[in-house]
Symmetry: D2
Subunit: 364 residues, 4 copies
């Protein structure tokens, strides 16, 4: 296990799908910040199961409680412990799967790694673990907004074969994203995506998708070369989200097909600073932010849990046919939008703290 | 700066493009390993500039010296310091660019981050920094091969618009990769790639490409969920390589277009263990290796340094036209193959050490 | 804040004196361990306030709850979250001290560091924070006992001017320690100490003391030179306990007065291993355990909270006379015994995990 | 091995007593600092062997070279690699001791830990490893002096049974310390100490001693509770120095004998800030600096290498009589003074960087 992330703004999460509670400790939160549960709950609501007809029918309120680290609604600079109770602490939906590792789940690998695993749900590999990321990310995002006016906006950019027209990264808002249940700001594509997902829910199948994310107003200078380049930590953060299979920054894989003379971002004078005419770099050069919007794209595989029968073998190698009985999401991307935003906020705030330390003791 | 990587097998690199030397300290290398410079030099040779007509004409021998940590050709378990002298310690090729941040280089961001930057070459952002990764990765790879018969093989899978037929991941060898200068095992594609790169060198332009990598014989159980999932650390490692813009594991972005019923990897009985019939998971499930080959793909942008004139502005915002005079690579992917292999080895060995600690104190 | 400790067995604590709860996450606990609250509560009981006439009259039950990381009474290898509710969440005993930093408390330094501080009690600097250490230390100690038969026994060795005769470090037991309320196994000294402490409680004054600790059956080879020598991590751990002012290993300060010919520990053959005739090294040589008992001594200052009036100034610099109204311990050492044991267990287990990783990949 | 120290100003050392070189990488040094070898060499000269009749007759020039991280005499913010060549790379003085672990050395424990050890000298456990600490500490101290006027002064406070009168901690200077070869500012005591050490050198014996250290002008607010309290990191740093057996902060062990009413440091108004009338806290309260001088004391055991014959056993358990032939220090404390200063500087600067990060993002 390595359930901690960050150097100066450091989060440590805990909890399995069916234990008493899941949560997170945030160590290194700046003191004096106004903070109550109301700052955190909205992003948890965007993540919670049962929020729309497109997601699982399983309902969890996911109410967050602040246990420590604040007084009279302000942070003390001490560790902030956040907790969300698990409603279903020991369900039986998954019982008969105990001897059979579910295809493309973590049952097999957890068993091999630990010699034991949670008897129901995904245990620690469940997406419930991301509650800690979303909750702590909401705090990080509030700090970034108040101190630097930084915006972090993620949206669904594709579902299965349905691609969407990219929004203007400079003006996209969370409201525009949430205008559709699927969280895609291209309304025409959103309709198709929603139909696709609703159909798959009926069929008992699932589908993958991609999420794009823009981080605006990041000052130039964030990122810690060489091994903690800004894009490297963002890549780690995004690939730590369950079900992710790929990561792109700026021009990504498409950029590999271009020539340097086509790909280079020329510098131009912008209001009060140098900027770049194009942004194929995705806001990062040499591992360090350059002041342009940071643009990411993340690949999510189709959820492994489907209601259709699947051939597999049990742990002893005997052939079986599996049929899942739980209630699951046919497509994770709408609920993963706040997770991507949370991870991005954790990375940016940690890097900002590290750069502030450097600036404070820099010699002219 | 964050020039260290790894928890138990921890490397710390140093050096700029034109200082006295570049190098690396390896802390946590298992004791008793037979080790001399001859174990390390071959991978450095595959990385060094001037090795073929396809790369820069700049020549560097990049001879490694072991300064500490071994005696009589065996490791002591103490830090191993490796060093490569810089031949050109203060060249003048880059001199007139001092006031002009080169497009899509790190000149601008280093200046903003540190308030100062190396006056020539890329300084710390130069690919010379990767010598430490390649050298330490060669040691990690030797340990993985001797202890677990693990193979790590990377190859060029595309150059610009030229894609190649994927090799058999179970049988591809380093010799098959090195059969072409471009390091693509599909000989037909390799020829086209080499022509393309040679042409761009003439033109003074550059092109991007992708590298694929397979890691074979990894035991099930490696990876530290949640924030240090195996794919998350591999993603960080690969995005820490200069010029990378994307990362995929297993089915990657293409997998997002599939349904769960198409994407899931069914378990089957293999010789003495469970395996999967297909490998869209890319050898990792829930952040933990499952015993199948780990398959990665990494995107490299076209090198930013080109000989063609480019419009830009200087630090004061005044328009200029830049013409690079240095000798540079038209395409980095052939030389980046050992860097990808090195990074992969560092991640896998560190995860193996962490899992061995767990296994040793596990209760049955 | 840096509320985490350990590399592979890593604990992260949270909580102030008067927030909703205090607790700890343990990341990296070996899987398969039988574990319930009953394994943890006894050490918390030895630490809790109000346990005897010698300690504060304030009562806290300090009942621990396991929130995550176990199933059916066995650890899953996932993070274990432990929580103890605070009974008094917002008391008013301390109210009128808000403007006056209490002498030799952390009021002043917390205010300077964070620009804000908890309005009552010690906030994060309260000894309630040590609940996380004691609880996680109890788990570490259980693992060490089951895997290696390691015993960790601490006892009060002095109170004020009252010194005690050292027990036989090879045979001292927790029962012998707990035979007196003051937790000193020298019964004659214990009586004097108890009289002294009872008298000071009456007077409203306090007194310091020392705790000694032996760690038996530690295998040779633990400790990570150079900066994480075994004694260095033990020193950090012990000085992280509130109210500590000094640390000794083996011969300590007294050893500085000896000659090498008097101080050196000669090697002798012991049953099946080399051992040393004397143990001035305190079980550690060159930062690494040598198989002999590890012997520590820790200095605790007199508690800063006393009922006697004290001259001081308020934050604005105006002279005041302070009189504490809370209920406090006249001497912390009896209650600090399980804290010392907990810290020692955390250090030893973490070092054991790190050494096991090395041994697993060592070459012969 | 764990040869790194620090979070934001992070040093990683390498080297054994008889390999090619010893050195250190400093990651996180603030950019723009004027820095050449001349800033580092003086402290290395105070540490080097053969500097006076009181130390070993072995001569090493210990000339430091900066390999990376600076240009035109200023730091770039990139890793600074420092190197000192070993003059004697494979001596034979120690050859016949190979089968016999020297009493109170690290031969036995290194062999048990690593299954192999350096064949001569102390290998990694040699005090040559401290060159990295002294060199990097000199840089840290320069930054602390230039940015905050912080002074770090250590001196020998006792040798064997010879105690000295404590100097005025507010006015003691490095010149006053270096006025005697033994580095004790109490001249009467210094004479006795020097006679004692010279006599023991003749006899082939050794003796222990203590070093005291004051750190002046540290701003209030440094230290990261709970596990990285300022005194806890100082304790770790000091116990990581070879041959140390104890650590005290402020009143130390003597303070345990006092009552709270005697020990508490009353606050008083000082010029522009609150201060304390007495300083039994040693400049730290609750793990955080309070603005008063930080006062430490460190215990050093007598050097284990003596010329007198000693009874021991070889690795097979056979009795032998050892007679050391190398040239060694009869007392390490004079040469350890710059090591203590270096360690202190590393801790304080790292803590200052961490606090600056917090202050930059604090909310009012």
């Amino acid at each position: 296990m390595s359930s901690s992330f960050g150097t100066l703004f450091r989060v440590s999460t805990f909890g399995e799908s069916h234990c008493k509670a899941v949560g997170v400790i945030i160590d290194g939160c700046p003191p004096g910040l106004e903070l109550t549960e109301a700052d955190i709950q909205p992003q948890l609501n965007r993540r919670r199961p049962g929020q729309s007809v497109l997601s699982t029918d399983r309902q969890e309120a996911d109410q967050v409680v602040i246990l420590s680290g604040t007084e009279n609604g302000r942070t003390l600079g001490t560790p902030i412990a956040l907790q969300v109770a698990n409603k279903d602490q020991r369900p039986h939906d998954y019982g008969d799967m105990q001897d059979v590792p579910r295809p493309s789940h973590a049952d097999y690998t957890y068993q091999k790694k630990y010699g034991i695993r949670a008897s129901s749900g995904g245990g620690r590999s469940s997406a419930r673990e991301t509650i800690g990321t979303v909750a702590s990310g909401a705090i990080a995002a509030k700090i970034l907004k108040k101190k630097c006016d930084i915006d972090i906006i993620a949206w669904v950019s594709s579902v299965g074969e349905i691609d969407s027209v990219p929004p203007n990264a400079n003006t996209i808002t969370r409201e525009m994203v949430d205008a559709s249940l699927i969280r895609c700001p291209d309304q025409a594509a959103a309709q198709k995506m929603e139909l696709c997902v609703a159909g798959l829910k009926q069929e008992g199948d699932s589908v993958g998708g991609t999420i794009s994310c823009v981080i605006r107003n990041v000052p130039a200078g964030l990122g810690e070369p060489t091994f903690e380049k800004l894009e490297a930590k963002l890549a780690q953060a995004m690939l730590a989200i369950p079900a992710t299979k790929g990561f792109e920054i700026g021009s990504g894989f498409a950029g590999t097909r271009l020539r340097g003379s086509q790909h280079n971002d020329s510098f131009v004078q912008k209001s009060g600073r140098l900027g770049t005419e194009t942004n194929r770099s995705g806001g990062i050069q040499g591992g360090i932010s350059n002041g342009e919007p940071i643009i990411l794209r993340i690949a999510f595989k189709p959820p492994a849990t489907i209601a259709l029968p699947q051939k597999s073998v049990d742990f002893s190698g005997k052939s079986v046919v599996l049929e899942a009985k739980g209630r699951h999401d046919p497509c994770v991307v709408p609920r993963a939008v706040p997770i991507v935003e949370g991870m991005a906020a954790l990375v940016i705030l940690d890097m900002m703290l590290r750069q502030e330390a450097r600036k404070a003791l820099q010699f002219k």
